[in-house]
C-alpha cells in the first residue's frame, strides 16, 4: 500500500538498487560528458542529461518512499526542498572543487540533506523513520539533476562557464523548475490506492526527458554544447517513456476491485 497515507510504500525494485543507479549513473553521465566533450566533440554533451535523468528517477523514487508516510504539507514541498538544497550544494561544489567539483557537491548535498532530515525528525518530531536517509537521497538527487542538466546546456562543469552561461543568464531557473518537476511530480500525479512503483518511476523518466529536451534547446545557443542530439535523444526517451507510462496506466486502471455494499447492522453483529 502507498496512498499518501501512513506506512512504507511497496517496492518492486529495492531502493538500494535505485540509489546505486542514481549515484553511479549520475556521476558517470556527468564525468563522461565532461571528458568526451573535450576528446570527441561538443555533441557528446547529451550524456550529461542522461546522468541528470538517473538523478531525477532516483529523486522521484525517494520522494515516493518518504511521501507515502504522509508529510501533511503536500508532495511538491519536498521537491522544492530537493532543488533548494541541490542548488546550494551544486553551486558550492562547482565553485570550489575544480575537476572534483561534482563529487564535492554530492558530499555537501548529502551533509545538508542528512542535517535537514535529522532536524525534521528530532526537532520537528515528524516521526518518519526513513526521513534522514530520504532527505540525504533527495538532496543528492537534486544536485545530480542540476549539475547534469547544466553540463547538457554548456558541455562542461568549469565554474566560470556555468556561471556566465547558466546562472547569470537565468537558465538555472529552467533547471530548477524542469528538474524539480521531474522529482516532485511523479508521486504527486500517481498517488492513490493503486499507486505502483514502476508507473511512478516511468512518469519520472518521462518528465526527465522533457527536462532533457529543454536543456537541448538551451544548448543550441551555447558554443561548448550541441543541442540537436540532446533534443533528438530526449524526444526518443520521452516517446518511449510516455508509451510505457500509458501502458501502465491502462494496466493499473481497469482493475476495479468490488468491495460490495456496506455491511448491514445485522451482519456486523
Amino acid at each position: 500500500m502507498s496512498a499518501g497515507g501512513s506506512g512504507a510504500a511497496a517496492e518492486a525494485i529495492p531502493q538500494n538498487k535505485i540509489i546505486a543507479f542514481g549515484v553511479a549513473g549520475g556521476l558517470i553521465g556527468i564525468y563522461a560528458a565532461y571528458f568526451l566533450v573535450d576528446i570527441v566533440g561538443s555533441y557528446m554533451s547529451f550524456i550529461g542529461a542522461l546522468g541528470a535523468i538517473c538523478g531525477m528517477v532516483w529523486g522521484a523514487a525517494s520522494v515516493r518512499r518518504v511521501a507515502s508516510y504522509g508529510l501533511g504539507t503536500g508532495v511538491p514541498s519536498i521537491g522544492m526542498l530537493a532543488l533548494g538544497m541541490g542548488v546550494l550544494a551544486a553551486t558550492f561544489g562547482l565553485a570550489v572543487g575544480g575537476v572534483a567539483g561534482p563529487v564535492i557537491a554530492l558530499i555537501a548535498a548529502a551533509i545538508i540533506g542528512l542535517m535537514v532530515g535529522v532536524l525534521a525528525n528530532k526537532v520537528l518530531k515528524m516521526g518518519i523513520p526513513i526521513m534522514e536517509i530520504s532527505m540525504t537521497e533527495i538532496a543528492t538527487a537534486g544536485t545530480i539533476t542540476i549539475i547534469g542538466l547544466a553540463i547538457a546546456m554548456t558541455g562542461t562543469f568549469d565554474f566560470p562557464v556555468i556561471l556566465s552561461q547558466v546562472i547569470s543568464t537565468g537558465y538555472i531557473a529552467v533547471i530548477f523548475i524542469a528538474g524539480g518537476l521531474a522529482i516532485l511530480h511523479p508521486f504527486n500525479a500517481c498517488l492513490g490506492p493503486d499507486e505502483t512503483q514502476d508507473r511512478t518511476l516511468i512518469c519520472g523518466l518521462e518528465k526527465g526527458a522533457i527536462a532533457m529536451i529543454v536543456a537541448g534547446i538551451v544548448a543550441s545557443i551555447n558554443e561548448g554544447a550541441s543541442g540537436a542530439l540532446t533534443i533528438l535523444i530526449g524526444l526518443a526517451i520521452w516517446y518511449v517513456a510516455f508509451a510505457g507510462y500509458y501502458d501502465r496506466v491502462k494496466r493499473d486502471a481497469y482493475i476495479v476491485v468490488g468491495t460490495g455494499l456496506l455491511p448491514s447492522k445485522e451482519e456486523l453483529e
Binding site: M80, L88, V96, V116
Partner: protein, 239 residues
C-alpha cells in the same frame, strides 16, 4: 583549493546575517494564513495553497524589490525596508483578492473557527462558521497576521541577498547578482519547507494554537541556514 578559514573569518558577519535572515523567514511562515486544498474549497480559513508556495512568493517578491533598491543605494536599512514592503504588498494583494473570491464568488463570510472572538476587531466568529468547516475566508486577524508574515519574510529574504552581495570577491556584477540570487532562492526554499513541516497543513495566523510551535522550526532553521550560509559565503568569497 581556497583559503577556507580566511574567507570565513573575513565574512563572519555575513554568515551571522544570513543565518538571521533564514530564521526570520522560518518565523514569518508561521504568520501567513495557509489553508491548502480545504481553503480552496472554502472549508478552512486562509489562502488556498501550500506554505511553500506562499513563502516563496513573498520571499521572492521581497528579493526582487530589494534587488531593485540595491541598484541605487547600499544603505542596508533602505534595502531591508524595500524588501519588507515588496513582500507585504504581495501578501496583502494575494489575501485581498482571495477574500473577494470567498465573499463574492463562493458567498461565505470570512470567519475563523479557532477563536470565538476576532482578537483585533472583537467581532463574534462562531455564529458565521458554516457547519462541517473549519472556518472560511480571511478574517481580519488572519489578514493582519499575513501582512506581518510578509514583512518578516521580506526582511529575511533581503537580508540574505544583501549579505551575499556584500561578500568580498572578484566577480563581475552580473555574475555576482546571479550567484547571490541562486543562493538566496535556495536558502529561501529550505527555510520555507522546514516550518511547513512544523505546521503540517493549515494555520490561521498568530492566534492559531499551532503558532506556539514556532520555536522548534526557528531552531531547526537556525542550524540548517547556518550550514547553508557557510556554503554560500565560501562559494562566493572563494571566487
Amino acid at each position: 583549493m581556497i583559503d577556507i578559514a580566511g574567507i570565513l573569518m573575513e565574512n563572519i558577519l555575513y554568515v551571522v546575517l544570513i543565518t538571521l535572515g533564514g530564521v526570520l523567514i522560518s518565523w514569518s511562515v508561521h504568520f501567513v494564513p495557509v489553508g491548502g486544498a480545504p481553503a480552496a474549497m472554502a472549508q478552512a480559513t486562509g489562502i488556498g495553497t501550500g506554505t511553500v508556495q506562499l513563502a516563496a512568493g513573498a520571499g521572492l517578491t521581497g528579493l526582487v524589490t530589494a534587488g531593485a533598491m540595491m541598484q541605487i543605494t547600499n544603505n542596508a536599512g533602505l534595502i531591508l525596508a524595500s524588501g519588507a514592503a515588496g513582500a507585504m504588498i504581495m501578501m496583502a494583494v494575494t489575501m485581498i483578492v482571495g477574500t473577494w473570491v470567498y465573499v463574492y464568488g463562493v458567498g461565505c463570510p470570512p470567519a475563523s473557527a479557532k477563536v470565538k472572538y476576532d482578537p483585533i476587531t472583537k467581532d463574534r466568529q462562531d455564529l458565521y462558521v458554516s457547519q462541517g468547516t473549519e472556518g472560511h475566508g480571511l478574517p481580519t486577524v488572519s489578514y493582519v497576521s499575513g501582512v506581518i508574515g510578509g514583512a518578516l519574510g521580506g526582511i529575511g529574504g533581503s537580508l540574505i541577498y544583501y549579505s551575499l552581495m556584500s561578500i568580498e570577491n572578484g566577480l563581475a556584477l552580473p555574475d555576482l547578482v546571479g550567484m547571490a540570487s541562486v543562493f538566496a532562492v535556495g536558502i529561501f526554499f529550505v527555510n520555507a519547507v522546514i516550518p511547513s513541516y512544523n505546521i503540517g497543513g493549515t494555520i490561521e495566523g498568530f492566534h492559531d494554537p499551532k503558532f506556539k510551535r514556532f520555536p522548534k522550526a526557528v531552531l531547526a532553521s537556525f542550524v540548517a541556514t547556518f550550514f547553508c550560509a557557510l556554503l554560500g559565503v565560501l562559494a562566493i568569497g572563494g571566487l
